[in-house]
């Protein structure tokens, strides 16, 4: 028997990857979609593009990365769904449990991809091929007819195993094994884009280095001199080692972040709220030590004493938001998951034996939640020297911005996502239309453009400057009366039946008063081409006299015969 050298920088690993994971989890959530074409879209900048598409949609010519509008044109009746990372991640917990029946040391990287070291399991099950087959068998009850979407790769190191899993799509059994020590030959023909660092890949291609083999052949000192520390890490990856900094430190023991939940928590959002604060604390303490975290263990205990545990890994260091998101996914998976026995392959005799032994001991479940969570713990398992951000000498702007981000995030947790945000200017006619409110955390992109080729677009019919200082959203009820006290009317041709003489509204000081000056009406025929959203309105600027406040200037509109107070200047 040949002795396999264990290289700590590339421990033999197995990577399991589910292709089209988002489609699959959507089918589980909404079974009626199995027979329909649909696409999952996400917003990239100002465009909405297809992120994943169902097989029916793909066969109609929808391509991932295409704009939503084009996808709708190519495939009639396509259903467009928003990408929801929570659902995708929650269902992945089922996968993790199925694979966990084989080996305990799972590391989840992202929804749809997990890996584990194979040294023990492979010896137990009789080799890499047998192990990979076992993984497939474990996934059979869950994936059913889509088993071919499960890709399994075994190789030296997580990175190579990931590529092997991707490569397995060409094999009949969707398994790809890279023999020990063969990483270099396996990697040599991959394009440099496989390193997952797009700017570096583009640069390398321009320098004439197109494959990982070419890159790996460069001398390491030269790579360090030209591409810096990060480039050197990618160089190591091209040689088949994992993306890990050389000086991997052991995390200090006292960094474990632990929080007792009292009263016990059954709802995901409440637990996630605590988790967010814990993630912030953990990362700020790591930050003080100059460390970043690449692998974190999420542990929870229920009131019945069950222990739940899952490891998440992130290439590069986890940010506070990314960590909190992963903890939330995990809690979602735990609190929403069903019984584990359903996930165990009934053909797996060993697993059945284990279950019966456990049942004899009075333990019916190994990993299920029967009660509320009472304890939540975050354990940084692997820390790396943090690349960190250099703050200004006295804390500076960056620290202030971070504080603002934290506070606004907390308020969003308290008041709801849509209650906290900022305004951004956009094209439009009335003061209300010309700004849009964007929830905090979303990209500040206007819905309607204000600039075209560096010139500001002025919409026809735009209410002239100065802008009113109180803009009601939505506009408030008002009464615009003529001299005999009847409501003012505007004809279809935009003519008023009388001059306005009094304006009344609850928001005006003393409830309104006599009109001293006015002008109008300006007609807005908004979206006349679309019967459902078409609006016709007439706008007036009106000044009324008030004993205490002097002049009160208002913007009043009449729409469908009703007057509304839009704004006060």
């Amino acid at each position: 028997m040949t002795r396999v050298l264990i290289d700590e920088r590339a421990p033999r690993s197995c990577c399991v990857r589910i292709a089209n994971w988002e489609i699959l989890s959507t089918w589980w959530e909404r079974p009626e979609l199995q027979t329909k074409p649909f696409a999952i879209c996400e917003r990239v900048g100002s465009r909405v593009v297809v992120r994943a598409a169902s097989p029916l949609a793909l066969s109609d010519g929808v391509v991932v990365g295409m704009r939503k509008r084009e996808a709708e044109a190519r495939c009639s009746g396509i259903e467009i769904l928003d990408s929801d990372p929570t659902i995708i991640a929650r269902d992945f917990e089922k996968m993790a449990r199925a694979v966990e029946a084989l080996t305990p040391r799972l590391e989840l990287e992202e929804p749809g991809k997990l890996s584990f070291p194979t040294l023990g399991p492979a010896r137990y099950f009789g080799g890499d091929v047998a192990l990979a087959t076992r993984v497939h068998e474990a996934l059979t009850p869950l994936l059913g007819e889509h088993l071919s979407w499960a890709r399994v790769g075994v190789a030296d190191g997580r990175y190579v195993a990931g590529l092997a899993a991707r490569e397995s799509r060409n094999n009949e059994n969707r398994i790809f094994i890279v023999p020990p020590g063969d990483s270099a030959t396996f990697l040599a023909s991959f394009p440099v884009a496989a390193l997952g660092d797009l700017p570096l890949a583009e640069l390398l291609i321009r320098l004439g280095i197109r494959t990982l083999g070419d890159f790996a052949n460069l001398p390491a000192p030269d790579v360090l001199a030209r591409f810096g520390r990060d480039g050197l890490r990618r160089h190591e990856m091209a040689k088949g080692f994992d993306y890990l900094p050389a000086d991997l430190s052991v995390p200090p023991l006292d960094l474990v972040e632990c929080s007792e939940l009292d009263p016990p928590v059954t709802r995901v959002d409440v637990a996630a709220f605590t988790a967010k604060a814990m993630a912030d604390r953990l990362l700020s303490r790591l930050g003080e030590l100059g460390l970043g975290c690449t692998r974190v263990r999420v542990e929870a205990e229920t009131e019945h004493g069950e222990q739940l545990c899952r490891v998440w890994r992130h290439e590069g260091a986890l940010t506070s938001a990314a960590l909190a998101e992963r903890v939330r996914w995990q809690l979602d998976g735990w609190l929403a998951a069903n019984s584990p026995s359903a996930n165990i392959n009934i053909h797996d005799e060993r697993a059945l034996q284990d279950l019966s032994v456990l049942a004899e001991c009075g333990l019916t479940g190994t990993d299920t939640t029967t009660g509320a969570l009472v304890l939540l713990r975050l354990v940084p398992e692997e820390v790396v020297p943090g690349s960190g951000r250099q703050l200004g000498f006295w804390g500076g702007d960056a620290a202030a911005d971070e504080r603002v981000d934290r506070v606004l995030g907390r308020l969003q947790g308290m008041l709801g996502l849509d209650s906290v945000g900022t305004f951004v200017l956009q094209g439009g006619r009335t003061p209300l239309e010309r700004v849009t409110f964007l929830p905090w955390g979303e990209a500040r992109e206007p819905q309607r453009v204000t600039q075209s080729n560096d010139t500001t677009v002025v919409w026809p019919g735009q209410v002239p400057s100065p802008a009113p200082t109180r803009v009601f959203d939505p506009p408030r009820q008002a009464e615009l009366l003529d001299h005999v006290g009847a409501s003012l009317r505007v004809s279809g041709r935009g003519e008023i039946n009388a001059e306005p003489s009094a304006l009344h509204a609850k928001e005006l000081p003393d409830g309104g008063g006599q009109v001293t000056n006015w002008c109008g009406p300006w007609l807005h025929d908004v979206r006349w081409w679309d019967r459902r959203s078409a609006r016709r309105r007439a706008l007036f600027q009106i000044v009324i006299k008030n004993a205490a406040d002097g002049d009160v200037a208002c913007l009043v509109s009449i729409e469908r015969g009703r007057a509304k107070l839009d704004a006060i200047y």
């Binding site: 951004v424 802008a467 001059e499």
Partner: protein
């Protein structure tokens, strides 16, 4: 002679060192804690600006315009401001007017739908991060909550701007904006062009007067 490092357990020496550090710390003069307001309001303020860590009340018909002026002073120097809107009142924050007077909208947070029970907690959280928080006051705010917010603002060196009536506690600056006169609009003709807003500022007993003009932007 080589200097040996201070032993960690030597508490007395550490305490002395702390005192020395405090004595040697740079002194912050009162005028350094002023947030400069470079509009007509600022000219009437003591030291041409707002003292950080204080409470300012603004009322009168032009309170919204005056508040936007103060917010623009904060956000223009790269600091953050926030506007809080109560769920019991109509939303009326004017983003466009804010942009016209020079508020950097990307550094002006809007917090909406705040109920009166949550109001003290929300304001207190915002004071932690923002240099200026502008808000209306719910009708039933308690004196104790108001006092707590005053302390909070002083601790965090933030300015709490209370718009409208109803602030039960003391304020270091009271601004009354109004009455105003509008020019440009006639009976059935013209457009609103220019506002002349009289402002009275009560600062430690002394009352100063100013005028705030709001003019139409060209184009």
């Amino acid at each position: 002679m080589p200097v040996s490092p201070l032993p960690r357990r030597d508490a007395a020496s550490r305490a002395n060192l702390n005192i020395a550090g405090r004595l040697a710390a740079p002194v912050t003069m009162a005028h350094e804690r002023v947030m400069t307001v470079d509009s007509q309001i600022g000219a009437a303020l003591h030291g041409n600006g707002l003292r950080r860590g204080t409470v300012v009340t603004i009322d009168g018909a032009g309170s919204a315009a005056a508040t936007l002026e103060l917010l623009s002073a904060t956000t223009r120097i790269g600091e953050w401001g926030a506007v809080v809107e109560l769920s019991s009142r109509p939303r009326e924050m004017a983003g466009l007017a804010a942009a016209e007077v020079g508020v950097s909208l990307e550094r002006c947070a809007i917090v909406r739908d705040v109920s009166s029970e949550r109001w003290p907690a929300v304001i207190s959280a915002l004071l932690e991060a923002m240099s200026m928080v502008a808000t209306a006051v719910p009708s039933n705010v308690r004196m104790a909550d108001a006092r707590r917010l005053i302390t909070r603002a002083r601790e965090r060196q933030a300015v709490l701007v209370v718009v409208g009536a109803g602030w039960p506690a003391e304020a270091s600056l009271r601004i009354n904006a109004g009455p105003s006169r509008w020019h440009g609009l006639e009976f059935g003709d013209g457009l609103l062009a220019y506002r002349d807003l009289s402002i009275a500022i009560a600062d430690k007993g002394a009352v100063r007067h100013a005028h705030l003009g709001q003019r139409a932007l060209a184009g």
